[in-house]
């Protein structure tokens, strides 16, 4: 039995201590927005916040967490996708398949919490999650936009006058 604070709710979940947080979120807590990608903390699709810190949940066992640790998943990042990162992601039309984007958004939110006005170098260093669709250029633009830096990475013919 694990006692976890997930998205502000105290949960008691029947699970073995060695189970990675990722799979407890997905299978016991019913929060499938956090994704499995590699299981070895390489891709970041499973990124969540624990006490405000970015964590790759595939590599944290629930046994290592305390009931007081505040776990925030993509589902709990904001009400109605109103976090600045989520709004910027929508505005820049970042996602393609979308599978990695929960983790990308959690990573970006953690970056901006510590570094509200990141440089390109800050973004390079912080945003290390894998995206196979290759949305990196738009992720960079959206992080800047969320930070209020304005779009600094442009150059595609269709983006200047995007409609709708």
């Amino acid at each position: 039995m694990a006692k976890l604070n997930i998205n502000g709710r105290q949960r008691e979940l029947a699970v073995e201590d060695e189970t990675p947080l990722l799979w407890v979120l997905r299978e016991q807590a019913g929060l499938t927005g956090t994704k499995y990608g590699c299981g070895v903390a390489q891709c970041g699709a499973c990124s969540v916040h624990v006490n405000g810190e970015l964590v790759r949940s595939c590599s944290v066992t629930v046994g290592s967490l305390k009931a007081s640790d505040r776990i925030v998943t993509i589902e709990g990042l904001s009400r109605n996708a109103t976090h600045a990162v989520q709004k910027a992601w929508a505005e820049v039309d970042v996602p393609q398949c979308g599978y990695c984007q929960s983790g990308q958004i959690m990573a970006a939110a953690a970056l901006l919490r510590k570094t509200p006005r990141p440089t390109d170098k800050d973004i390079d260093d912080a945003m290390t999650n894998i995206c196979r669709c290759g949305t990196y250029q738009r992720i960079r633009a959206a992080v800047h936009q969320a930070a209020g830096n304005g779009g600094t990475t442009g150059g595609t013919s269709g983006r200047a006058n995007r409609k709708s």
Binding site: W23, W89, C97, I123, N129, R132, Q137
Partner: protein
Amino acid sequence: MTNTIHDTTRNISRRKFIVGSAAVAGGGLALGFDVPLVAAQAQSEGNEVGIWVVVRPNNDCVIRIARSEMGQGTLTGLAQLVAEELECDWQRVSTEGLTPGRNLARKRAWGDMSTGGSRGIRGSEEYVRRGGAVARIMLLQAAANEWKVPVEELTVSNGTIRHAASKRQTTYGRVAAAASKLTPPDPKSIKLKDPMTWTIAGKPMKRLDTADKLNGSKVYSIDIKLPGMLNAAIKDTPVYGGKIKSVDDAKAAKMPGVRKVVRVGDGAVAVVADTWWQAKTALDAVVVEWDGGENAGVSSASIARHLETGLTATETNGDRREGDALAAIAGAAKKVEATYSTPFLAHACMEVNNATVRLTADKAECWTPTQSLEASLAALSAASGLPLSQCEVHRHDLGGGFGRRGGTQDYVHKAVAVAKEFPGVPVKSIWSREEDQTYDFFRPISMCKFSAGLNEKGELVGLHVRVSGQSINAWLNPVGIQGGRDMRQLQGFYAEPGDAQLGYTVPNLLVEYAMRNTHVPVGPWRGVNTNQNGYYMECFIEEVARAAGKDSLEFRRALMSKHPKHLAVLNAAAEKGDWGKPLPAGIHRGIAQFMGYGSYSAATAEVSVDSSGNVKVHRMVLALNCGHAVNPDQIAAQVEGSVAYGLSATLFGECPVENGRMTSLNFDTYQILRLAEMPKVETVIVPTNDFWGGVGEPTICVVAPAVINAIQAATGKPVRSLPLKNVKLV
């Protein structure tokens, strides 16, 4: 050594298990059931207006989507094409994904459902546009009937119908019920809009499918949860074609949550448990002894030796001959020769393979990420033994596809085998990353030997290209090989216009393919054979241009006068990529052009190589002529994605083979491009609006050669083998 290579062209039983009754995504789709496509001629049912559109009383327009969405944006583009002819309010458009069971029940009214070969838009644009027009005509007719005026007197804009003479107006929502009862016009009789007058299609509309990707609510098939569902983890023979020798599951069977340890065919074992993590943990405790069989000794080195025999052999498995290349080269003033190679590559979709299957006595259901819902349906039917009419595949957008999940429905077959052990209970099988990477259908390994002859003026007078490597058709689609000829492996070298035509005219040209198969499964991988062939051809042309003492761009241009579309795209890339203009110290430029999927691509790359040999790609400019550009912003997104996918392959990608098995099984060793390594990408769309080309795949083939040619500009040396991480540059 060739006799240790298992020739899969003769391995019928294995292949049957892998692909079932479905064929390959990149070629024609043979489904194993023969229902002719009647497309938009079908009658409306229920509240449909035609078969592609449902209009709700509140004016919401629901546009149906048959093709799979895996991130490539086809869903939005197809909706734009329907909405354009429908003349509805784009702000009120939503989409409804169709299922293959429903399509089959309607005699495949919605046509081919597969997404592969960059055909999603270009393969359905005509009938979906006609479908939108059919709905518009029916809605207008319903208004005309109500007002008792000739339909010709009506106009429509944004879903509002007006009759100017009587100053009346109504909306699509108000006449939809009456319209749905009318007989649809013959779609063939409809004159479609001139694309130059488009107002919805051709515009950079935002995607329709973004919102639920931002808050974790989108349900991919790996996320599905059904009442009473069990979970399975699967481990397959690490040596392709191998078997299980023995299984000791004594420990695993007693582990928490475990329901059963299951054998899947003669080559795989699965653990079924309450949760997937329990299943995976128990599977790790199952002791399996494998019999690798005749391929257990195969290695990258033995495969390389096998391919090398194809470079020097004289037989061909497909060729293109113009003039006498060998004589022209023999008599040339100057000769240039080089041999190139590329490795196996895994797709590594972010969503690993998975399939949830529920089997009852009279119904088989499957939830799975698939690029071909109909191929999945055929696989479900074949594996379950139930007729197609009692099968259904529930639709989920994919967490990536890239060619892995079209014709290759191996994971559906295996998931059905697991679910058979639990009748009536849904069982979700998830492949771990390591298993997904072990059991891929890899980009085929190949090599290419070139000889070129230059005359005294430095003009190319003869070119001999000999590709040796594995055949996708031999593994997945043997009917694609006719009389021993397999032209698919020469994609991009074709003489015929329109698909993957070589953009150069060489007076004496010989292009040959030597088939050298291995025991490793191969399949289409974003861009398929244009990847390898584009890299080979465009880097060798660079070598030839340098040997001739000519500018890279001018040397190409001189060969392209008979290929104006190729040339125009090359010129666009050169111009926007600042070809010939000064660069900052230490930065060098490369250029390339090639063709695939009915579209023309070219690129420039700006690259630096530091004193330790580390490569940094700073900027790439890609030009694309895809004919009609349905959504410029999504085209740009696909081009950006092709750079990331192509650069991963160029810089890092390889799947080595040792002891018959893949050794690079997760992202710690199968390195993927990350944000810090992504160059600035500029997309230049130069549509000529006179054809329909693909978008998802065409541009990837110019990524590697543009970068490698820039490296040659930096170092003076060609790079003839990928990935770059294995090449010592300084």
